[in-house]
Symmetry: C2
Amino acid sequence: MVHADEKSLASQLEAADVLLVWDFLSDAVREAWPGDGPRPRWVHTPSAGVDRLLPELADGRDTVITNARGVFDQPIAEYVAGLVLAMAKDFRGTWELQRQRRWRHRETFRVGGSRAVVVGSGPIGRAIGRTLMALGVNVDLVGRTARDGDPEFGRVHATASLHGPDGLLGTADWVVCVAPLTEESRGMFDASAFARMKPEAHFINVGRGQHVVEADLVDALLKHRIKGAALDVFAQEPLTTDSGLWDVPGLLVSPHMSGDTVGWRDDLAEQFLDNFDRWEAGEPLLNVVDKHLGYVPTKPASHPEVS
Amino acid sequence: MVHADEKSLASQLEAADVLLVWDFLSDAVREAWPGDGPRPRWVHTPSAGVDRLLPELADGRDTVITNARGVFDQPIAEYVAGLVLAMAKDFRGTWELQRQRRWRHRETFRVGGSRAVVVGSGPIGRAIGRTLMALGVNVDLVGRTARDGDPEFGRVHATASLHGPDGLLGTADWVVCVAPLTEESRGMFDASAFARMKPEAHFINVGRGQHVVEADLVDALLKHRIKGAALDVFAQEPLTTDSGLWDVPGLLVSPHMSGDTVGWRDDLAEQFLDNFDRWEAGEPLLNVVDKHLGYVPTKPASHPEVS
């Protein structure tokens, strides 16, 4: 086993059979990837998103990509449920008043009976939807393609059903983005999307910063087109001290931590080691990414698995 | 119908058949209550707690007290679930860092699999327990007396089982107080109770301020005997600007608002009017308080109902 950093990676890639991208927030792999030469046959990223590997690793060659599908489901679902409750109950307002030593009773909102649209129908989106439903929220789940008969959500809606005068965006009290970042989903939350939402709606992004046109979100908040938003991910991370996003009224900012609960790195390492055992035993790998879709499909991928 | 304020109440009480205590945070009724003279036959408080009416209204005479049982169940359950998630995910820390424009990733805690002890087995306590269970929390419900075979919680524990070396207080990540305020429960969360809790535990009070010995809680927080606490109720309300509770490290303060969601006053008025229809029709009233227990028992009260 060889450890590589961002500088040495390019020179070591051609000798590697397997690459574990432990620093999954780095773009080093995509930048170092050999166009034609020898390359690892298997690349594992201990993250849910694989957007930092694609499209460079998506050519026709036989490199398999696996991800951390599953590890982040419940942590992120709890985080989003917490944000929904915190926004409904205005906890930030309460704690700001506490800081000012001011007692100011306000009425807050019920979460039960409200409506959420969760954009992203993978295991994290499903866990978010399930958790919100447990709190009495009516949930519409949105995936790439529509399908009926989902055992938990009934109909899963297609992305196209978000827009239009009768679109789902106009029905939601909570719009949650947890989609994989692909060419189709990049920038999907822009001025036209925020214009479709209700003035009482809140937007939550735990997907990727590039799903959101940040200037459009800021504009929507400043003009009260929507009531509030929470971003855990950003186009540029970390946010710099002089970023304008820190103090937009109604915007909650957190440092890309929604899925990171105590023990998460151990969980991620165990998940890789389990897959590595399969690799050495010649068994099919788990969580193989469909490199053309850009995520692990819920149904088995159509491409051949490594054996 | 006659409207009375704190000054005119005493002179109007003896002519009244029915008293609606709309300002349920006032002690005026207890102070104005006639010792022996004519008095209302029915007093309704649009609150869950009746501690501002007792013990003065609990003598042997036939005045019936009813309360707002039911209206606050789901709002307070959501509020407590929100606090649990917010504390597990350290939202206050995140928003304080946001105010300082600082990006600092931290690991947070899972709520699923943690343990809560909910002290108070009335409808609000049950709603809190149910909501926490929906988030994957293991819940022990504590009431005045132990009973087995509860359809939702299995065993309901007696208050006595909180203490002792193997007591429930030592098992909990979250200790939630939502008990009625009675002579038995007054001051039950004191230094000895906080000493039983785990250093990682959080304490939440949505019951009454008098359940807590506030100086002992502050001491437990300052000495890191427990990790954090959230108080929505206080011995003296509102908190004055110079109260020491505003800036205790690890203490979240909110202004007695956990149950007050938009429309709550309408809900409370409707609940009273529904009972008033029953009164006028000579039907039994709903939500009759057992004046000796100090709350509406889940099983029918043993005293005769008004007809």
